[in-house]
Amino acid sequence: MMMDLEGSTEKSADFTNTDETSLLVIIMDSNPAQRILRENPHVLTQCVDSVIAFANAHLMQKAQNKLAVMACHSKLSEFIYPGPGKQLDVRQIDGQYEVFTLVEKTIKQNLAKILTSETSTVITESLLAGAIAMALCYIHRINRIKAPGLKLNSRILVVTGSGDSASQYMNYMNVFFTAQKQNVVIDVCALDQHLSLLQQGCDITSGMYLRVPQMQGLLQYLLWVFLPEPPIRQKLVLPPPVKVDYRAACFCHRELIDIGYVCSVCLSIFCKFSPICTTCHTVFKIPSLGVKPKKKKLKI
């Protein structure tokens, strides 16, 4: 009697849309120190245009979809959509959907503000981990204020041409694990170099990682690989995840190692036994005959 409680619903019911809302936070690296920007500053315009078109394509998917865009600049990171302060009052100027015009204008205006205020020519690294941390706080707030019972899929897309630096390692790991815990997917679109740290983040949060082979087709790459939301991705054939190398690099020589020694106090990794930890200055006792007692076998 209980078998057909659902009744004979429409045959197409399972193909139609789900009422899930999707929040996308795009982090755009606008740091002028990026190699591709130093060689050709016009790449930034192209990159911004592609990102805006992509952002609007995201909003076009569903009426409920939400968007936020951040710029990660040389000295600071900022939300450029929805920017600080009051919303712009935008009237339609052409056939573009009003909301899309608003997105485009706001992003361009706020970005211009950042670019003009920053004139230093010193080469600095982009602090992407910090930008992701801000994005996570933002997502956390949206999750808090959303209507109860509403399902919100959040993800972060990082578009960057910088390399990744080991100096941010700790911050990166913190944001990746937080994202994993909050079910936030991190997607990374690398414009220039291969980013092994951010790739680990994609792997940890089951996001997509793509290194764009050529800048010309950026929008098309974004639309193909990053537009589908995580729930739809399984229905599409997308670039398969590559196996990520999770081997540790030792703190002493920065080399990848298979077997290493870990300080029991601060968890620093060394490739050889040394009597003192260089990180926390703990003095270790010399292992007896170099062999660790096998605890499993001892207890009965």
Binding site: C72, H140, D245, I259, V262, S264, V265, C280, P287, K296
Partner: protein
């Protein structure tokens, strides 16, 4: 709950109206008051958490759960035991999330006996299963605290000297039925450097207080279930290292999945499921290979069964770093229009709702209450410091 002042006797102190700590709100509810107490203690604990303290990172924790008659009480909903089981499942998950290279074991006390239901091991799922099975245990007789402690001590004793040894007791009963003098056991625990924490579900018991005080642990009695959760989850953070804890370098393996170029992975069996009855080992291609003896495992972290090497991946270690380098604490300030929006979440401050704001000492950015909590509980990275080049370099060089 406060520590006793040893200088004067209890009856010499002033008359203390303990019930006045808890205040009813306008509608006559206590929830707000309890939430306030939890919130305050959280901040207090947060304030104590400052970097560069020596912590016991490789934890070996035995959870000793009371499964006696008294756990069938219904003051926690639906019963004390069911509530405990539910919280414990969440605790185990969180414990391994935050302490990936630590180990856990579970002991239950009933009918004056102690019984180990789950060996000291690093696999959270096994423990969760064992805890879940407690739903069907019959709650009989009295607990024996001494037997429980002795059983835990027996296996903790054998651990290498760099391991941090801990026992967490959940006591529902107000009595314990022990075969010999429990003070001897407590003395033994103390000499072995085992830290014992106790959570009481009913009322304060002297022997538990004594146990916790002697071994450097904490003793708390719960107010209600959310307070219970808070107390339990305090044990997720690693405790300060015991004095007798030796530091040493531990040999670890970092297996990698990489297949050799151009060849397909051979079909192999993994060592983790080789003798488990309910899900047998299957032939699969991927997996992690021990760099020392080449045994295959399907997940990390794990201790190699054939050569005893601890196998981890770099992110596992990184997961624990935030205990050692926590985000700096923020300063609580009254809201005086320091900033229009919260730096992290972009929430605009409204003077009526946001009475307090928080300022980071390094980057001087202003945050809202929710972000303060989120940053220190989960994120462990100050977004202000991490996005500002000057402060980033400063905080980085100090580490």
């Amino acid at each position: 709950m406060d520590e006793e002042d040893p200088k004067e006797y209890r009856w010499e102190t002033g008359y203390e109206k303990t019930w006045e700590v808890i205040q009813e709100d306008d509608d006559g509810f206590l929830e707000a008051s309890v939430a306030d107490i939890i919130q305050k203690s959280k901040r207090k604990r947060q304030a104590l958490k400052q970097g560069h303290a020596k912590l016991g990172m490789m934890r070996h924790l035995y959870i000793v759960i009371d499964c006696s008659d008294s756990m069938s009480g219904q003051d926690l909903k639906p019963t004390r035991l069911l509530c405990t089981v539910k919280l414990m499942e969440a605790f185990i998950e969180e414990f391994f999330d935050q302490n990936p290279i630590s180990q856990l074991g579970i002991i239950i006390m009933h009918n004056k006996r102690a019984e180990k239901i789950s060996e000291l091991a690093g696999n959270g799922r096994k423990h969760a299963k064992a805890v879940k099975a407690l739903n069907r245990t019959s709650l009989v007789g009295e607990p024996s605290l001494q037997n429980g402690l002795e059983l835990a001590l027996k296996s903790l004793k054998l651990l290498p000297s760099h391991a941090s040894r801990e026992i967490l007791v959940v006591m529902g009963s107000l009595t314990t039925c022990d075969p010999t003098d429990i003070n001897v056991t407590i003395e033994n625990l103390k000499t072995e450097g085992v830290r014992c924490c106790v959570i009481g579900l009913a009322a304060e018991v002297h022997v538990c207080r004594h146990l916790a005080n002697e071994t450097g642990g904490t003793y708390n009695v719960i107010l209600e279930d959310s307070h219970y959760k808070d107390l339990l989850f305090q044990n997720v953070d690693p405790p300060p290292a015991a004095v007798c804890l030796e530091s040493s370098l531990i040999k670890m393996g970092f297996p990698h999945q990489m297949a050799t170029e151009g060849t397909e992975d051979p079909l192999t069996m993994c060592m983790c499921h080789i003798d488990s009855a309910d899900e047998g080992s299957k032939l699969t291609t991927g997996g992690y290979y021990c760099p020392q003896c080449n045994s295959k495992y399907c997940e990390l972290p794990v201790e190699c069964r054939s050569c005893g090497l601890t196998l981890v991946s770099a992110p596992h270690l990184a997961r624990s770093y935030h205990h050692l380098f926590p985000a700096a604490n923020y300063k609580e300030l009254p809201y005086e229009h320091q900033s229009a929006i919260c730096f992290a979440c972009q929430k605009s401050f409204i003077a009526d709702n946001d009475k307090q704001v928080y300022e980071c000492n390094n980057c001087k950015k202003i945050f809202c209450t929710d972000c303060d909590m989120f940053i220190h509980d989960t994120l462990h990275t100050c977004p202000g410091c991490a996005t500002n080049l000057a402060t980033f370099q400063m905080s980085h060089s100090s580490q």
